[in-house]
């Protein structure tokens, strides 16, 4: 676990205020408010159907919250279309991976490098506006763990294994030179060794000053990287705080009642 | 009063046209663009059996409905089954089959004014000061009975429930031992029979012409889109909306605009609410 950001001095970079979302008769989010501070790794956990992905979708503009506000750097971004939100620097990965299957892996990154934001900022390490997007794409892929010397960056995306696809999702976010990355279950579907190699990546991104929000089911790995954790249950915020605090909470235990993993994590902690 | 009476009649005939299309799409997710062709071919088969072979009218109708049903099933079994799930191929393939049938009929000499079917009952009746012939009344009553019958069928019989199950979730239905290909074939057969029923009820009011195939296709698409693709009860209600809108335009603007109304209804519905007025599909998946 890295050191938590000093929350008393900095202003929150992302704020939710009383977020509500109804799908027909189902209340997916009930008055959820929380702040994300620069440099945070915020973990959002909760049982299935507790509204985690709905939060991601509301922040990034894929759905419009029924009521409530989302602020990014004190600017109201509620209900803005997804491409505008991404243009401001809030990027996301998808729970169900969404690579462009008919393109080779490195050409997947040409798309974000072509966006207005990448043209402005130059992409992850800069230079993206110079027109040589395919080379920069391969550079980003190498940083994220695609071996350059192998043929992997040039393979058709449809032939890549899950681990690489998850990295590709992250790379797509990085190509935009993001300020916030929201990872929707980036560890799920990966083997233990793949996760073990992803964790340092996340930590490195945090060191580079990117704020990260992680939606996760793999609690053990999440608690390694997160400095704050929020627990959702049936669309409501149960508790928010440091991993130790959350793990000790009775309500959380009740929400996860029967979930072996929590007990495991708790004994492990 | 005139508007009310003719609006109702027009609406029921639209509903009859659209039911088959809605049924097939609702159950098997196949947009059957050969629907209009099936409609026309039923008319010509009835005509051939009745006028050429001299069979009794009622038997000719039953036979031609059977022929239509078999035709629909064959179409699914030999053509559409191979492109199942590829929406665009389904549209193109079924539309091409429709074209083959319609233009083949036209090439085979089925054109002109000579092809008519007799009405079920001669004479007319005054309803609220508006003369309505018996056939239209019979058509309206049969149409409404048919919808009621379909509702009972899909909700209270084994096959009907199986069809409903498949319409809701094909994979789950497969797991419960429902043969989805067989059911889809059955659905196509039903759709074809419904197109035939519409044909035998509506065609005696005019001539049997090949062009009505395209007309029926557009009308049934209009009804189904406005009602929400895949919901045949929605299609029934949408038929009333479009039916009355058409009669109103005929009365107040001009008969040229009848078709414009239907097409405009399709375009507007798709732009404003693609899931249709009564559709239950998730809007998010279609639009976002």
């Amino acid at each position: 676990m890295t050191q938590p950001a000093d929350q008393t001095k900095t202003k929150p970079i992302l704020r939710m205020k009383n977020l509500n979302k109804r799908f027909g008769g189902v209340q997916a989010l009930k008055d959820v408010s929380f702040d994300v501070f620069p440099g945070d790794v915020l973990g959002i956990i909760g049982p299935n159907g507790s509204g985690k992905t709905t939060i991601v979708n509301s922040i990034t503009g894929f759905i419009k919250p029924t009521s409530g506000k989302v602020y990014f750097k004190d600017k109201d971004i509620t209900g803005k279309p997804p491409h505008k939100v991404a243009d401001m620097g809030i990027t996301r990965t998808f729970q169900i991976m969404r690579p462009y299957y008919s393109l080779p892996a490195y050409k997947n990154l040409v798309i974000p490098l072509f966006s207005p934001r990448a043209k402005r900022t130059g992409g992850w390490r800069g230079g993206g506006n110079l027109g040589n997007r395919q080379t920069i794409a391969i550079d980003i892929l190498e940083e994220i763990g695609f071996e350059r010397d192998s043929y992997i960056p040039f393979k058709k995306t449809s032939t890549l294994p899950t681990g690489y696809l998850k990295r590709l999702e992250l790379a797509r976010c990085l190509a935009l030179k993001p300020e916030i990355i929201i990872c929707d279950e980036i560890f799920s579907g990966l083997s233990m060794s793949e996760i073990a190699s992803m964790v340092p990546l996340i930590e490195r991104l945090q060191d580079e000053g990117i704020t990260i929000v992680m939606i996760e089911h793999r609690l053990r790995e999440l608690f390694q990287v997160a400095n704050r954790v929020m627990v959702l249950n049936f669309g409501e915020k149960l508790i928010e705080g440091t991993p130790d605090l959350v793990m000790a909470d009775e309500k959380v235990k009740a929400a996860y009642f029967g979930s072996k993993e929590v007990e495991e994590v708790m004994t492990y902690a | 009063m005139e508007i009310l009476v003719y609006g109702t009649i027009n609406s029921v005939s639209l509903a009859l046209m659209g039911l088959g299309f809605a049924m097939v799409y609702g159950i098997s997710r196949v947009p059957n663009f050969a629907h209009g062709a099936l409609y026309v071919i039923c008319g010509f088969v009835t005509w051939t059996l009745f006028q050429k072979l001299g069979l009794p009218y009622f038997i000719a109708i039953i036979l031609s409905l059977g022929v239509n049903g078999v035709l629909g099933m064959l179409m699914y079994r030999f053509v559409l089954i191979r492109v199942r799930g590829m929406n665009i191929s389904e549209i193109i393939a079924s539309y091409a089959i429709g074209l083959i049938i319609l233009e083949g009929l036209r090439f085979g000499g089925f054109r002109g004014m000579t092809y008519t079917l007799p009405v079920f009952m001669e004479g007319s009746l005054m309803i609220g000061g508006v003369p309505v012939d018996y056939h239209r009344i019979v058509m309206t009553i049969i149409g409404i009975l048919l919808v009621a019958g379909l509702w009972l069928f899909t909700h209270h019989t084994r096959i009907g429930l199986a069809l409903q199950g498949m319409a809701q979730d094909e994979r789950a239905a497969l797991m419960l031992g429902i043969d989805s290909d067989f059911m889809a074939m059955l659905a196509m057969g039903f759709g074809a029979v419904l197109a035939g029923v519409a044909a035998t009820l509506i065609m005696p009011l005019g001539n049997i012409v090949v062009e009505s195939g395209y007309h029926v296709l557009i009308m049934s698409i209009a009804v189904c889109i406005v009602g929400g693709l895949g919901s045949w009860m929605g299609a029934f209600f949408a038929a009333f909306i479009i039916g009355f809108a058409q009669i109103l335009t005929v009365v107040y603007i001009g008969s040229h605009f009848q078709m414009v109304v239907a097409i405009l209804a399709i375009i507007l519905t798709l732009i404003l609410k693609p899931s249709g007025l009564f559709g239950q599909q998730k809007e998010l998946e279609e639009r976002v």
């Binding site: 894929f62 279309p81 997804p82 491409h83 991404a86 243009d87 990027t91 996301r92 998808f94 969404r98 690579p99 462009y100 008919s102 393109l103 050409k107 997947n108 040409v110 798309i111 974000p112 490098l113 072509f114 966006s115 207005p116 934001r117 797509r172 190509a175 935009l176 | 053509v79 492109v83 929406n87 665009i88 191929s89 549209i91 193109i92 393939a93 091409a96 089959i97 074209l99 083959i100 233009e103 083949g104 036209r106 090439f107 698409i221 889109i225 693709l229 040229h256 605009f257 078709m259 414009v260 097409i263 405009l264 399709i266 375009i267 798709l270 732009i271 693609p274 279609e286 639009r287 976002v288």
Partner: protein, 337 residues
């Protein structure tokens, strides 16, 4: 050898492997392996009008080219942007009427009306299709199928632009030579242009939208803008074809919104090979002359190409061109298991 004990292997020809990169310049043979098909295409298209025996068949070549342009626009929209438009007639009709109106009402010569019709017609089509762009799959297909019918009914109902008779007395191209080489040049231009375009960075965005529009949005790209651009490109091509058609027949009318223009390009694309861009040309070269031969039999030609279409969708859905390319680039052999 029965298939139980053997399987078919497909191996790239050595010459393909060697000529994929820069090495192609090393020998004349490898160079010609790459350039010969392209040379045959260009030379063949240039020679076609000359080789035709009489005026009638030269006219057929023009019609082939017009359908080809339309089919390329369909292929581009369907297989590189993911918008399956069944409304080729909408583009042809809009372009045809625009050219006709510019020519008869404003007296512009064909040399101006054709490019103007492409731009103005393209804008009209794009504006009208703009609200439908969020639609996908069946819904977009149905709505594009409805548009040409809608336009025809509107013109009929309001009795504008000559009503059911259409506009007559439109100027012809100055000579048959100009007419044919204009359309042939347009086909070659669009063919190579679109082929280049889809591999540029911007072209990749279209492919990405087809694969997965959500991820494109999450990448900070306004997909509505790019979809509109794609529709504009496709509809401008279609309108240009329509304008040429109007000037060739010296007439524009409701029948330019007829189903022929929607269904034949699709049939040609499916037969020739979807997503190859050259396939539509091949398909049109086969379908249009045959349907001209069958013109005496009236509607039989529609039956004919609809049957071919069904046959290809069912049994050879990748089309002739994909098959031919495979034969050219790979050899097949049976190997024992």
């Amino acid at each position: 050898m029965s298939s139980q004990h053997a399987r078919k292997e497909r191996i790239d020809r050595g010459i393909k492997v060697r000529s994929d990169g820069l090495y192609a310049l090393m020998s004349l043979r490898e160079l010609s392996y790459l350039t010969l098909p392209r040379f045959i295409l260009i030379a063949g298209m240039m020679l076609l009008p000359v080789l035709m025996p009489d005026m009638y068949w030269q006219r057929v070549i023009s019609i082939v080219c017009i359908y080809t342009i339309l089919a390329i626009s369909f292929d581009f929209l369907a297989h590189y942007v993911g918008l399956v438009s069944l409304g080729g007639a909408f583009f042809i009709g809009t372009g045809g009427y625009t050219a006709g109106i510019l020519n008869t009402y404003f007296g512009l010569p064909p040399i101006l009306t054709v490019p103007l019709a492409a731009i103005i017609g393209g804008l009209i089509c794009t504006l009208m299709l703009l609200p439908c762009l969020p639609l996908k799959g069946v819904y977009f297909a149905i709505i594009t199928l409805m548009y040409p019918l809608f336009m025809a009914r509107i013109i009929e109902a309001f009795d504008i632009f000559g009503g059911t008779d259409g506009l007559i007395g439109i100027d012809n191209f100055s000579s048959a030579f100009v007419e044919q080489y204009l359309v042939v040049a347009m086909v070659l231009m669009f063919l190579s242009g679109i082929r280049r375009f889809v591999t540029t960075d911007m072209g990749l965005i279209f492919t990405a939208i087809m694969d997965n529009d959500q991820a494109v949005k999450a990448s900070g790209i306004n997909i509505a803008k790019y979809k509109a651009l794609a529709v504009f490109i496709a509809s401008a091509m279609g309108c240009m074809a329509g304008a040429c058609l109007t000037h060739i027949y010296m007439w524009t009318g409701i029948s330019q919104f007829a189903l022929d223009f929607s269904i034949l390009p699709i049939a040609a694309t499916v037969i020739g090979g979807s997503g190859t861009l050259i396939g539509p040309l091949l398909g049109c070269l086969i379908l249009v002359p045959v349907s001209e031969l069958l013109r005496d039999f009236g509607t039989l030609r529609i039956v004919f190409y609809a049957s071919i279409l069904v046959g290809f969708i069912l049994f050879r859905s990748d089309g002739i061109m994909v098959f031919g390319q495979r034969k050219y680039e790979q050899f097949e052999r049976w190997t024992k298991i």
